[in-house]
């Protein structure tokens, strides 16, 4: 397949909100279709492909308008939930990491205060002897 067709297919791939088994099946079939087109039109450009197939996002929208809508809705809800859970986990991890850094620094600071570097005691006997 020529580079323009590869680029076009990458744009189509990026236009899917999620990429499950059904989307992969459609993508593979579309890939074969575009490969056939590019075999017949060896020097086709991305503009030629857009003129023939439409914008990548329009292809994806057309696909979803022809498959069962509840499935798309539930997949989007699932994706939103996955993103929310990932964000909560990321926030918890970041908080833990930040707390660990602060505690470590505090311990370092406290232990540095407790070390007796040098102590000099001038006793009375020493003073008298002098």
């Amino acid at each position: 397949m020529n580079p323009a067709a590869e680029l076009f297919m990458r744009s189509v791939r990026a236009s899917f909100p999620f990429f499950d088994k059904e989307e992969k099946r459609f993508y593979n079939d579309l890939y074969d279709n575009v490969r056939c087109y590019s075999n017949f039109h060896r020097n086709c450009t991305t503009d030629d492909l857009i003129e023939y197939y439409g914008e990548p996002k329009d292809i994806v929208m057309e696909y979803y308008s022809n498959v069962s809508t509840p499935n798309v809705y539930f997949e989007l809800v699932k994706k939103a939930r996955r993103v929310a859970v990932a964000m909560v986990i990321a926030i918890i991890m970041a908080t833990l990491l930040f707390s660990m850094v602060i505690i470590t620094e505090k311990l370092k600071f406290d232990s540095a205060d407790n070390i007796i570097h040098h102590e000099e005691t001038v006793t009375a006997e020493y003073e008298r002897g002098k």
Binding site: D29, L30, D32, N33, C36, Y53, G54, S65, N66, V67
Partner: protein
Amino acid sequence: MKRDDSFKRGKNNIEMILLNILCDGDCYGYQLSQLVNDYSGLMISIPEGSLYPALYRLQEGGYITAQKRLVGKRLERIYYHIEPSGREYMETLIDDYNHLTTAINNILSHQSTMEGYAE
């Protein structure tokens, strides 16, 4: 009287067209869209976003089957083959389509029959 919802079934028209083309022989996806273009004199084109979901629906219904065939040395293509149940289903779709076009023609050719409904 039960209302016929065939007007909503635009997807069935695509399935009918695809089954009709497959009656002439097995085809692959790109070939199907090209034949639709050619046979309709470039008046009808089925976008790929509608073509493949229609083929998937027909496959799930058992009306067509898909076979991978080797083209050349390495290239594989998926050919679609119509099954006997697909031919029967196509006849049903053609009947539905004819009823629908008759109904639309009746609407278009009505001769000022509003008098009976006017207040």
